[in-house]
Amino acid sequence: MTRVFVSRDIFSVVLGANAVAAAFAPHATVVRTGSRGMVWLEPLVEVETPTGRIAYGPVTLADVPAILAGTAPSLGLTDEIPFMKRQTRVTFARCGVVDPFSLADYEAHGGLAALRKARELGAAATIDLVLKSGLRGRGGAGFPTGIKWKTTADADGDRKYIVCNADEGDSGTFADRMLMEGDPFSLIEGMAIAGFCVGATKGYVYTRSEYPHAIATFDTALAVARRAGVLGNDFDIEQRVGAGAYVCGEETALLESLEGKRGQVRAKPPLPAHKGLFGCPTVVNNVITLATVPAILTGGAEAYQALGIGRSRGTMPVQLAGNVKHGGLFEAGFGVSLGELVIDIGGGTLSGRPVRAVQVGGPLGAYFPPSLFDTPFDYEAFAARDGLVGHGGIVVFDDTVDLARQARFAMEFCAVESCGKCTPCRIGSTRGMETIDKIAAGEKVAANTELLRDLCHTLKFGSLCALGGFIPYPVLSALDHFPEDFLNPQGIAAE
């Protein structure tokens, strides 16, 4: 029977993939995969042919007979679709291709070779490879992964831990989720390699509760890996579920939460690499960071390092979200410009109206106007323009957006999610909200704008972590790039 591939990623399920898969089932061998990341084409159906997989999408139940008969208009070979062809898929090479629960499929596509290679090379040489690849943490802070691993490996302790940060709280991001749903074994393998390198026998994956589908998928994958002996001998992994606190994505708050406490941020030092989970040396890494390590080991550190620009080496899985025509996941070497991502690849807005702003890097990231679209996707280039790459999410807004409202939301979010340790973050955020309300109402606009800037300064320098420390990015970028949104015409008249 013909083999047909239909994604089981939640993106696809929400758009009707389960019914489509069921309709094919009596007539074809249906393989449920992860998503290729072309969300606007979901449910995407791929049919196996001697020349490769031919794609159809978005598929409705009515299309099924024609696809089976070979008479439906197709999108051509999946890998030749421009959105796919322009990518350099390293971390997501298998996502959308393999059955996420099949270890045989994983191995047939190069899986588990990296773990064997690490064991051959030994811990020190493997860490050296990770260091040479230039891989930096994909959770947001961009810290060199090899250095983190070496610090943990060198730390004294009979017990060490690998903690995977799957809290993915940033709006506009879903790379961790897609990876866990589409290629979970790469994360498992990456964690096993990390454990081998630093001498840890236990790993935790802390997944946000907002991802019930990913949690279930990953638990199933863990069970498969354990049954096959990939886990359970010298290294095992347990998944833990968060409880709706954004700040628990911050690594020390995450550790507190894993220990069963309130998710409050710890002062650093000590670093988690020295005193992390239950006081033991701990590697905390993002899902994408860990899942990229196997590909680096099999493809070579030099090849990975050769991609990217400046100090941003390798690839970034960029997530196109919000009001965007071609939303989804696009993995490419660092250096692609923001405009290329939003306009050429993303196709502009879904509404068809002009793009007015994009927020990059989640709720703590800056709002950029199209005049900054020449900014290359690169940690340093974004920082130089008072922005963040963060976890690689780009949220597109059309010209109906009100940036004063977005700035207010940033303050509200900070107030709701503050862990409560620092006064500026806990109290200042609410003050910020009130101040923006006054500005929007036209009340003493100049004085209140001044006050808002002061408050941002206090937050930036008086916060223990980046929640309070970075919330000025969205607020000030809104003020600086979109000042007209803070000038209520009635307000000006009243002043």
Binding site: G242, A243, G244, Y246
Partner: protein, 156 residues
Amino acid sequence: MAVYEPWNEARAAEIIASQAGLEGAALPILHALQHAFGCVPTEAVPTVAKVLNLTRAEVHGIVTFYHEFRRTPPGRHVLRLCRAEACQAVGADKVAADVRANLGVDWHGTTSDGAVTLEPVFCLGLCAVGPAALLDGAPLGRLDAATVAAALETAP
């Protein structure tokens, strides 16, 4: 529709004991309690405290820190509507306003007939198909007020 168990001390003790052996067992225990009872019942706090070797106040502090833990059981259906930026970019604020008006509840509220509890959520990882929501854990995307109403109507 989720069906919750009525409060039962012995059952609570059993649930707590089933998770107590884990490292850092607090969250797994609280999740298991909420799964069974629809919330973390106040009556369960002393047992949790005893098992974890914490004071009741400390357990209370943990329960209240996390947005997800409820103190009272929800309505028959729980609608978790995304309020975050990527969904805002495609009209989530209006959807939320319409849904609140149609249901006659504010965030965290339960309709007077006990049918629906409305909870805000900040991102579900469905940011390319927003406005998004989870209805009793099942994902919904590209929402407007009418599709929300239809989903509630047909929810099992």
